[in-house]
Amino acid sequence: MIFKEIVTVKNYQKIFKMVLNFYHTQEHRGKYLENPIICRRDNAWLGEAYYFWESEDDAHFWGVKMKHRTGKYDVYKAEVSMADVLDTVFNREQYNFWLKHIEKAAKVFIKKTNLKPSLKEINDYFIDKGIWTKFDGILFQDISNNPVHFIVKEFQYKKRIQLALFDVNKMCNFAPHFSMEC
């Protein structure tokens, strides 16, 4: 009676979707942050969001490479439930959905405006229009350019996974994880 629901393939994800740790890197500016900082940069490819790394290594490398101006950077750790995150990295159906609609929107933009949108603009468009906000964030990947990851010759095989979280209230236990001089 306690466990009435039979675990089928269909409801497996619903019941067991994980809460994962993610990492957020920022310059150290005298005191620790209480919340992550939203990214509005032009190269924020998933649109305006709170960006996290799935791997500590990538968070550390981002600090060395991009957050070194004050001579020290902080990596924060937070927990995010993946239940309502669009997972384009490990979920084939959700990846295909994302790809199809990014390309569909790009074609409409080009046809109706004669202007080619950037990936950030398309994602910002879907956020502005309340589409992407129907879920908590997007998990996406590219390829790391961290030389430490080039263990095999001539081929970078490791995914660099990022989470763009649209609503800061969807994460919890945000806290400093480590700080490094650089």
Partner: protein
């Protein structure tokens, strides 16, 4: 759980209802905001007078450049 079918329906309706004007306005507005963030607050002035700068920023640029500096050689080298 994310309802992909419902999202797809909403996206189709959204894109279908966009006109040339509405979508162009959204995109240019987005780009203009970004441009303002890049340049800072300033005043755009008309191009009627060819000698007039098109954007007048309130703070002065600060960089050191030799008075004899020229990029002609560099450009020629690139052209070659």
């Amino acid at each position: 759980m994310i309802d992909l079918q419902e999202l797809e329906r909403k996206i189709d309706v959204l894109l279908e209802n966009e006109t040339k004007d509405s979508l162009t306005a959204w995109l240019l507005n987005k780009r203009f905001v970004n441009l303002t963030e890049l340049l800072g607050k300033g005043t755009f002035v008309g191009l009627a007078n060819q000698g007039t700068a098109i954007f007048v920023e309130q703070k002065l640029a600060s960089f050191n450049q030799s008075p004899t500096y020229s990029n002609v050689e560099y450009l020629n080298r690139n052209a070659a």
